[in-house]
Amino acid sequence: MLRDNTSKVVFIGGILIIAFGFFAPNWIVNQLMFGFSRALAILGLLVLWRTGLVSFGHAFYFGLGAYTVAILDIQLGVTDVFLRLFGGACLAGLAGFLVGFIMRNYRDIFFAMLNTAISMVLYGIIVKTESLGSTDGFAISLPTIFGVAPETKYPLFVVITVIAMVSALLVNFYLKTTVGRLTTPIRDNEIRVEYLGFSVAHAIHLKYTMSAILAGGAGALMAMSLGQVDPDSMINWTVSGELVFITILSGPGNVIAPFIGSLVFEVLRTYAFELAPHLWQLIVGGTFLTIIFFLPGGIWSLIVKFGRNKS
């Protein structure tokens, strides 16, 4: 039942959150911005995951998006939020399209690992290149919106939320199309898909490129809302791990799940860090294991269960 209402929920929820953000304290707005930005990447991973593909290297595209924003800002002085986002998403999408020619032939763990390998190549290049900021990375100026430099973060928050809404709706629509529905079928039986007349390679290539665009956009928005990029927080394999973690945490059930999952992750990390600064990895890792073992459908499955119990 929830699925049919997804568009409505996204639309109304988005508007409510934008209104809420106006009154919310800054730190909550920040958490929402970080959560929604990252959720875009999760949306892409969700599309892949439904097809049975898990990428352990999407920090590659996330980082590409983020660093594109940094280069646009520092080298070219581009401040407009949409230009930066467009740049980040496009570059990541282009890279994803090219890498996709290799990736579409791989499945399972090989797919996961090849992605890691490629992301580590980018990591190695950036860490070693002084003009790309090496380990330090770059600070990024606050973006302008329609030529206006905003006084607070709120306008950026509105932009991010709207983009998150649009992306969720687009992905939701995509998942209803024929190629979008080719998720479980590909996971179940590729040969049959081929004999039905659809190219599995093309379908995966499309999904992969989509996920790259989304991850690039996520990186770009993240860079702008944080105001900082660096390789260890944007490209290292641990970041890819985090993205997958949030995907599992969210569950593949619905395009809304990534947004909830990302927010939960953001809150979890903030509090883990606050309450046990020495042990936040243990808390995050422990949660991860718990989800894998006891809640394979992620948070979304809880919501569905809750909804069922009620009705």
């Binding site: 730190w27 090496s134 380990t135 660096d230 600064p277």
Partner: protein, 430 residues
Amino acid sequence: MKKRFMTHALGMVAASALVFTGGIAQAKDSITIAVPSFLTGGAAGPFGIPAMNGAKMVADAINKGTLPAPYNTKGFGGASATLIELDEGGGATKQVAEYRNLVEKRNVDAIVGYISSGNCQALAPIAEELKQFTIFATCGTPRIFEEAPRKYVFRTMGHATSDNVAAAMYVKEKFPDMKGYTGINQNYAWGQDSWRDFDLTLKQIMPNSKASEKTQFPKIFAGQYGSEISAMSLDKADLIHTSFWGGDLEAFIFQGAARGLFKKKIGVMTVGGTAAYRLGKKLPDGLVLGARGPYGILVKDRKSVLNQWFVNTYKNIYGIYPSGPAYQYGQAILAAKIAYDKAGSDASNEQLADALRGITFESFSTTIEMKLGGGHQAATENGYGITKYDSDEGENVVTDVKFYPASCVLPPDGIDSVDWINGGMKGAKC
């Protein structure tokens, strides 16, 4: 499963409630100071933990009013301070997010700390954006106050330029015959700046010596330097400069010493002071050792009341002599006290900044003049010595200690370090 999740959620709600009430309860008789430092990772042991210890010890003494005069008044402008300990690890981006949380969520009054130059560089603009009174304690890159004027950000120790200019001057004085030099530095702002300043200064003051073409820049926390040591052993240079710190430095000393590197070459370690007490007999003799200013082993025997208080109290509590980071964090906390004493415990960020800007104060081991970067960047003397194991005492000592005054090793206010060195260090009073 559901239960599990609910308890989790409840835990978070409870936790946030705690934080909120903590915020409300805060009044003029107490303040919170966030102290970020490395609590995990390779830098924790040699740097982060001593630093945190120094901060805790000094804050504790201030709260009790047990610091020697003239700082024997109780509290920070009368208020007692609670320290929030934070991990500085995880990269600059994560620190930016945490910093925002500190200011906007946890409503801390002041932020005092940071070891990594990468973090400081990323956080300075954020601090300015959030208008948050912040004192950087240890990080070294000169870029922070050179790339933009700051209003809320301070640093209570000299920057890396003074470390490396002083190192070059010390080399000139003690090893006038040095013909060539090479370096191994970490591949980020700190290492790059350090090497550049050292190299440029030597080009000015020892024009006959030659820099090696192959200087090493391994990644931070690499841990193994076998090939690098071989390469430097084969290099014709007779001196090796390094700004390594923490675990990297200790690993490098071990591996180099085992292979006789420091018998063949002069080792100059700008941050070597932290290793002196920790490595004991394993520290080779004859290293040129700095402590990024007048701290740690270089000033252990300074007789001032403040210094003796610091050394003895630290030794009593932690069982080891205080190294540089302990001093640096201690004096940053002290600076916070001075600012609060002057502006009052309920002072705004602006008032606190005004109170600290441009002042001169006596710290534990030296005099600090906040005279660079528009009164935001400290200028202190800087010095070096040569290591020697004292087998009678069973500990390392430094000999031939020589200090250079601030005006000798730091550029005048408003002039960038690199320009100043390249211009022949005009106005240096040595």
